[in-house]
């Protein structure tokens, strides 16, 4: 399994630019981690439910009522770029 990890490809999926050095280093280091994790193949998991949480969790609803939250200036207080009470994004549509 471990040899199938292609760090350069996964980095694209994760929107993360890596240097060649980082790519090679992670390839080796994560290869070791995945090799270690291969021992999970030994476990018989037939009929076992996958646990997303340690405690059973169900949908939790609250009343659908408006409440006070950030005003625009508060929501924008950490924005790296903003104008006219809006976040500036990088152009999405060519």
């Amino acid at each position: 399994m471990a040899s199938e990890l292609d760090v350069a490809y996964v980095a694209q999926l994760a929107r993360l630019q890596l240097t060649i050095e980082e790519t090679e280093l992670f390839q080796k280091q994560l290869g070791h981690v995945l090799k270690y994790a291969e021992k999970l193949k030994e476990v018989n998991v037939e009929g076992v439910e996958a646990a997303a949480h340690a405690v059973p969790m169900f949908n939790v609803f609250r009343a659908d009522e408006p409440c006070d939250w950030f005003a625009a200036d508060e929501a924008l207080s950490n924005a790296p770029r903003q104008a006219n009470n809006l976040f500036i994004v990088t152009k999405v549509v060519e």
Partner: protein, 491 residues
Amino acid sequence: MTKRDLPAQSIVELRDLLRRREISPGEALQALQERINAVDPAIGAYLVQDFATAMAEAEKADVSLPLGGIPIAIKDLINVEGQQCTCASKILRGYHAPYSATVIEKLRGHGAIPFGRMNMDEFAMGSSTENSSAQVTRNPWDLSRVPGGSSGGSAAAVAADIAFGALGTDTGGSIRQPAALSGIVGFKPSYGRVSRFGLVAFASSLDQIGSLTKTVHDSTLLMNAIAGHDSHDSTSLNAPVPDYSKNLGRDLKGIRIGLPKEYMIEGVDPAVKSAVMAAVKQLGELGAEMVEVSLPHTDYAISVYYILATAEASANLARFDGVRYGHRAENVSGLFDHYARTRAEGFGAEVKRRIILGTYVLSSGYYDAYYLRAQKVRELIRQDFARAFEKVEALVSPTSPSPAFKLGEKTTDPLQMYLADIFTNAANLAGICGISVPCGFAESENGKKLPIGLQLLGKALDEARIFQIAHAYEQSTDWHKARPAIEAIAA
């Protein structure tokens, strides 16, 4: 007692001094600040402190409240309105919290003063605090060693008497392990016991906020403040909160404590092993019945943990896109470049490594083999604990297989660093509660005393019982009274 001795007080001792009006909250804060100025340059626990804001809170503190006027240090990933919250990451440099986490509101409701932003591994990913993008934190017992992590700043500060108590977070041991390596008490509540609202998420199904303190009694006071249901966190449990201090002082007669036979593994430091076995004997002498139990899937916990935690982290960290907050790359050539360079420039090596691993185990073709399988083994691990807790009220083990290691010793080998979590991360997978209390010392080759931690695990929502056992053990020993000899640095 002189003002110089003030920072060495426990929360309970400080509370009593404040209530008797022997000192004022402002004087306590001032004394703490003076010691921070003297000692922290050598330790590196604090990223920043906002003394003026804290002093303003101290001046109007109500000392009749359970934590009235007591400064509590906060790990730098819990939002306090108006203060920085960087998770020790470059990607959040300059970020100031626009709101406060529920735990902060609750601490303030009990009269406490959130004071200081504590160093940590970036986004809580690490076991040594060496993954901080900001600074190195050193172990107060031996400055050439790590304080543990990821709540290393919180732990080192409490150990060095430059914090009365602190909040940290524990996703796979990040409170208990640094508490053990720094010689203090670290408590991880059951999953859902404490609200995560306002906590920057690492692995949402594992993260819990908890306490780092000088004593078990102090820990119960912080838990009394922060535990409870919160409608802002859908995973928060709607269960009554008992008074966690209530059981303190009760003896251990009739309490059964399990020794998991799978934890008697090779590779545990001999000093750790002998300290823990002596503690087990001590628990027996205090009246507890020691029982051997089995947790058959122990050997798989680290693999399960690093698959699930990285998968959840890769999803949680997708929010760092350089648009709404945080670092943003300049002069980008398009949207992909915007994301990829913003994240490349903002995240450190360990965070990048975990994003890659997490993205991989969730990716098409590998999801079933890694992520889904890990979730199933997680269920088996959870069942192991459920069966064990039918026979016993608590489990005992070392917190960490070794005392504090040297700075730089494990940074080049992530797998070795991950294996240091062997005794702690199963508790997060199973959602149960756990504590680390001091149980002895190893000696380093240069003659320094290195603290050892005893871990006690309890079933979900059985915090009060774990505090009772930990307190009984603590009070029957002198380990928690020992302090590192850092006066030489401070002088």
